[in-house]
């Protein structure tokens, strides 16, 4: 438990790979830190389109902020999207063609570099 915020540990999600023996990358098990780092990096690529930024909060939860400085704390990946809608004041949609184009551009730039 976090003594500062009294959080009782992050909730498990079907998306979690850390701690599962079957997941191994280059012979190494996936650590929570590595997994959350990868997840936050992708979330920022996606939510940047809506002017939002996400960071990991102590390996236990996520903190999301918008350009106006409003923030929200959430414990699971599934819980991020309702707050993203609220902080972005619009519905975040993975089928939005402009978002897809932006992600394609990011993917292409990464592949070129």
């Amino acid at each position: 438990m976090c003594s500062l915020c009294a959080a009782l540990g992050g909730s498990r999600s079907w998306t979690d790979a850390a701690g599962k023996a079957v997941f191994a990358q280059g012979g190494r098990a996936v650590t929570t830190r590595d997994e959350r780092g990868r997840r936050v990096a992708l979330l920022n690529s996606v939510l940047g389109y809506y002017g939002l930024q996400v960071s990991d909060w102590g390996g236990n939860s996520y903190v999301m902020t918008n350009a106006a400085g409003q923030s929200a704390n959430m414990y699971s990946l599934g819980g991020i999207w309702a707050d993203a809608d609220r902080l972005a004041s619009q519905h975040c949609d993975p089928l939005d063609e402009e978002l897809i184009a932006r992600l394609d551009k990011l993917g292409t730039a990464g592949g070129a570099g």
Binding site: S13, W14, T15, A17, K20, V22, F23, A24, Q25, G26, V30, E35, G37, R38, R39, A41, L42, L43, N44, S45, V46, L77, G78, G79, I80, W81, A82, H91, C92, D93, P94, L95, E97, I100, L103, D104, L106, G107, T108, A109, G110, G111, G113
Partner: protein
């Protein structure tokens, strides 16, 4: 630990014949050890000892939609049944049938059973049996989204009143049911004359993973405009991906997709090739309900491509594939960018800008 009890969710639109089916089954001595939760009080007189009635009482989870709601009535009935069983006040039952109301969607009940600790501990993963009216079923599916959802959620579709329907009607209904749910087993019955007990006894308890995997292995890609199955506005679309998926990308994409469109993503089944995993991952969801993915040790065949089948309503299926691929590429790129970054404490370059190692301020150094 107590023996787990087989669980069946019996659903079907108003007048389809659920109760007749259930009554026929419960009359048999072999099925006297069946507990029943009926969702409509006073609708029928089931002469049965192990009977609980519930009235719909729904708790909507914060931020959730209707299909994310928890059915409090089912939780209460389940708890009461097990308490009575454990106290010896009712005979030990070996299966539970939950009969839903005719206009209920099955997903909230499945969601409740998945979230409820008692159900998780005492029940085998529930199977959904949907009774479809052989005469009126097609029209009902087209007119009522609840009826269509009952079919898309089914493990077994029982087409009733086959003695009253024409061959053309049954053929059209079978096609519509297969288009909405290619994985469901379809059985035809005459509720008066068919041996309903044999039908029910043949439905195995628990998830049929072997069948799921075999059906997914046989899946090829479809182009929705040319060959996807269409029934009303429900579309079945399959995609095949040659490259393994990034699991982080798939998780972020799927949670976002189901949050935004879960009420229209009726079913997803996929056999996924995931980066770094030796075998495939079986993924399944129904609306907002995601079953825990099953990571397998080895592929059953040489073909190691991902196959995902979507049953959607009112969504352009082409966008699903485009979006998934974009998220996958972006994840790989985001991770490679992250590898270039170092923490501020070490100095170096962050996001292309040089950062100096922090030093002790002059006023402290003296």
């Amino acid at each position: 630990m107590s023996e787990r009890v087989a669980a069946y969710l019996l659903t079907g639109f108003l007048g389809s014949g659920k109760t007749t089916l259930l009554r026929g089954v419960l009359e048999e001595p072999a099925f006297r050890d069946t507990a029943v939760i009926v969702n409509e009080f006073g609708k029928v007189g089931l002469d049965h000892d192990l009977l609980a009635f519930s009235t719909e009482s729904t708790v909507v989870m914060p931020g959730g939609c209707v299909c994310c709601s928890i059915r409090e009535d089912i939780e209460t009935s389940l708890r009461e049944l097990f308490e009575l069983r454990d106290q010896g006040k009712i005979p030990a039952f070996h299966r539970i049938v939950i009969e839903t109301s005719g206009i209920a969607e099955p997903v909230p009940i499945l969601m409740t059973l998945k979230a409820n600790p008692l159900a998780q501990e005492r029940l085998i993963e529930p199977r959904v049996i949907t009774v479809l009216d052989g005469v009126l079923g097609l029209e009902t599916m087209e007119r009522f989204p609840e009826a269509a959802a009952q079919v898309t959620s089914a493990d077994v579709v029982v087409v009733s009143k086959c003695d009253l329907a024409t061959t053309d009607q049954i053929t059209a209904l079978d096609e519509a049911a297969r288009a909405s749910n290619p994985w469901a087993e379809i059985r035809h019955v005459n509720l008066v004359e068919s041996r309903l007990v044999e039908l029910f006894a043949a439905i195995a308890a628990g998830a049929d993973r072997k069948g799921d995997i075999q059906s997914l292995l046989a899946t090829g890609p479809t182009r929705p405009c040319a060959s996807a199955h269409r029934h009303s506005d429900v579309v079945s679309h399959s995609i095949v991906l040659d490259q393994p998926l990034d699991w982080t990308a798939f998780g972020v994409w799927m949670t976002m997709l189901l949050h935004r469109h879960g009420d229209r993503i009726l079913r997803v089944k996929g056999l996924l090739a995931v980066d770094g995993l030796p075998g495939p991952t079986l993924f399944q969801s129904a609306q907002h309900l995601v079953h825990p993915p099953v990571h397998m040790d080895a592929w059953p065949s040489e073909d190691r491509r991902s196959r995902i089948v979507f049953i959607v309503r009112g969504i352009d299926p082409n966008l699903l594939e485009t979006s998934l691929r974009a998220f996958d590429r972006a994840a790989r790129c985001a991770v490679s960018r992250r590898a270039d970054q170092r923490s501020a404490g070490s100095g170096g370059v962050i996001a292309g800008r040089p950062v100096k190692r922090p030093t002790t301020p002059a006023w402290i150094r003296g």
